[in-house]
């Protein structure tokens, strides 16, 4: 298992390098100069600008610039926000926990919905339950997150007035009330993201379970005379989790996309809404850094999925 872990960690390096090359290429190919703002500013003399360029290495050959840039990114030396003049890493670290919490909670919700529904549907394929679940799953992942978000706001905030539709970082309340308020304001963002994910997951789980349920070893398990429940949980679901883990990992980029939109709708102060406001205010260092962080998160989740995979499937770690 240790060697498997080390191998997986080593395999991350080319991925990080690859993603960084893509990011840097995009940046380098971009027309215009990130310092255009300074150029048009009459208060900044040309010599100062040239010095600044030189000190930042903007006139170096491209590969040197890439290496410098990569090391700066890896060191967490991400520069200052053009807008708030705060170091970008502080800005991101401040907001990252919220994003992780929202994504984590919605994943838990998605799994809580998708596992039982998908398994139950797969054990009764083409039953009424299966057909309803399947149709609802299609509806779920055909509803874009931004529309679901607006619908929930319309229903629960405006009509029923149950939940606030703006997420607040600083809650006035304390103690239990604080937890309750936190819970109430998190419900809608987490639901929007969780149901979207859950809908896709239901279909993954269902088809993975259906694939396993027909295998010979399940008949062997039945021939053992153990209860059907144990056959399903121990011999079907346990094996079906292996492909599901991979599929969930492949979904990660889509989940982040959904998280950005959700944060924007409910004004959740995570890195997603930070990215949008940075794009709207031309804050290049922040945009670059947030994109880089998202890319790293995807790689991190892929690593976690790989480790889970190795843990779930004994054939992998022994190979």
């Amino acid at each position: 298992m240790t060697s498997y872990l080390i191998r997986r960690l080593l395999l991350m390096i080319p991925s990080i390098l690859g993603i960084s090359v893509v990011l840097f290429t995009v940046l380098a190919m971009a027309p215009g100069d990130p310092f255009e703002e300074l150029a048009t500013n009459p208060a900044v003399p040309p010599e100062v600008r040239a010095n600044l360029r030189a000190s930042l290495g903007l006139d170096d050959p491209i590969h040197i610039r890439y290496v410098n840039w990569l090391f700066a990114m890896l060191k967490g030396d991400w520069g200052f926000s053009f807008v708030s003049r705060i170091p970008v890493d502080d800005l991101i670290l401040q907001r990252l926990p919220v994003t992780i919490a929202v994504i984590g909670a919605s994943q838990v919700l998605a799994l809580l919905v998708a596992l039982p529904v998908g398994i139950y549907a797969a054990t009764r394929p083409y039953s009424i339950f299966d057909q309803i679940a399947n149709t609802l799953a299609f509806v779920g992942f055909s509803l874009p997150t931004f529309f679901t978000g607006l619908l929930l706001i319309l229903l629960f905030s405006i009509h029923l007035d149950w939940f606030p539709f703006v997420y607040r970082t600083q809650l006035d309340s304390t103690g239990w009330q604080w937890w309750w308020d936190q819970f109430r304001q998190s419900i809608m963002p987490v639901t929007v993201l969780g149901l979207f994910q859950g809908a896709a997951l239901v279909r993954f789980v269902r088809s993975a379970v259906l694939d396993v349920i027909r295998l010979d070893h399940v008949t062997t398990a039945r021939a053992k005379g153990i209860p059907e429940r144990a056959v399903i949980t121990r011999h079907v679901v346990r094996n079906a989790m292996i492909p599901v883990v991979t599929l969930v990992a492949l979904q990660m980029p889509i989940i982040f996309g959904g998280a950005i939109v959700t944060e924007q709708i409910f004004r959740v102060p995570g890195i997603g809404s930070l990215l949008i406001s940075a794009v709207l205010s031309n804050d290049t260092p922040v945009i670059m850094a947030v994109t880089f962080v998202f890319a790293c998160l995807v790689i991190l989740f892929n690593l976690i999925a790989d480790l889970l995979y190795g843990w779930l499937d004994p054939r992998i770690s022994y190979r």
Partner: protein
């Protein structure tokens, strides 16, 4: 699964006339999927509506009339008006053209790139294959939306300067969305290559002295088209969602172009007193995407009879 399909610009030109057998069979299986059939009808109505609707419903999309702002549905304005008193039905019909155009164009880009990458990898094998597959995996793990935002942010102004705001954003969005969705197609085509290469009729063609290009064009590509068609359908839906997302974030088409996502973006701050403004364009996106997804599911059933029953 032999024959031609409009799915791909490269492939359909070279594909042979469809043999009625396998396609008839696929169509028979497709028709058994009731939701897919219903969705095909819904989709047909939607496409017709955005194509010829503007000729029938001739209300201008940008006529500002403050006396009629934020009105709910009425005979005069079946889907109500927005904050400038503009007719929403006309705007949604117009936006639908953009959404569908983006969907189809981005899908074509994705399929084109995917088929080329997949075909090269499948034909070359070895190191080229390994490198291309590594690239495919890399692209699969790129965070799509942040990169979309980054690229649009960096390139929009210069492209708009060259070809104008509407066309510039259209090209940019289509290229990027397509450029982020070719990976599944590349994998599919490559897998088809590997499995079909060994099959008898390809062997036979090789024995008869068919050239490599000819074999690819005539035998291998038409045979991969079933699964690619399924992927293409899903891609259209994904591209429509991606474009709407960008517009919804205020980063897509210019504000005066009423795409569905843009309508939602404008409507979201008026939810409490003009919910119709958000609901109708939202429903339009939802219905389109849902029916495309169901059609894709029907196609999957039609082309893969071995799939779980």
């Amino acid at each position: 699964m032999a024959g031609s399909t409009p799915a791909s610009a490269t492939a359909s030109a070279a594909a042979e006339r469809p043999q009625p057998g396998p396609w008839g069979e696929a169509w028979r299986r497709f028709r058994k999927h009731r939701l897919a059939m219903a969705s095909l009808c819904v989709l047909g109505v939607l496409v017709l509506a955005v194509l010829i609707g503007p000729f029938i419903w001739t209300a201008p999309i940008d006529e500002i009339d403050f006396s009629k702002r934020l009105q709910g549905p009425s005979w005069e304005h079946p889907l109500g008006t927005d904050d400038l008193g503009q007719d929403l039905l006309a705007r949604i019909l117009y936006g639908g053209r953009i959404s569908l155009a983006v969907g189809f164009a981005a899908m074509s880009v994705a399929i084109l790139v995917g088929v080329i990458v997949g075909a090269i990898a499948g034909m070359a094998g070895g190191r080229v294959d390994a490198a291309l597959m590594w690239l495919t995996d890399l692209f699969l793990s790129l965070p799509e939306l942040p990169l979309l935002l980054l690229i649009i942010y960096l390139f929009r102004d210069s492209l708009v300067g060259v070809v104008g705001p509407e066309m510039g954003v259209f090209i940019l969005i289509v290229l990027i969305i397509g450029g982020f969705r070719w990976m599944p197609v590349a994998r599919l085509v490559r897998a088809q290559f590997f499995s079909l290469r060994e099959k008898e009729f390809v062997e036979a063609a090789r024995a008869l002295g068919a050239t490599r290009t000819r074999m690819v064009m005539v035998h291998i590509l038409p045979n991969s088209l079933g699964p690619v068609l399924v992927a293409a359908t899903i891609d259209i839906a994904a591209a429509i969602i991606a474009e709407s997302t960008l517009s919804f974030l205020g980063l897509g088409f210019p504000p005066d172009i009423p795409t569905w996502g843009r309508l939602l973006f404008d409507a979201k701050d008026n939810l409490d007193f003009a919910p119709h403004w958000a609901i109708f364009p939202g429903l339009a996106i939802f219905l389109t995407v849902l029916s495309i997804n169901f059609v894709g599911d029907g196609l999957r059933d039609a082309f893969d009879p071995r799939r779980v029953k």
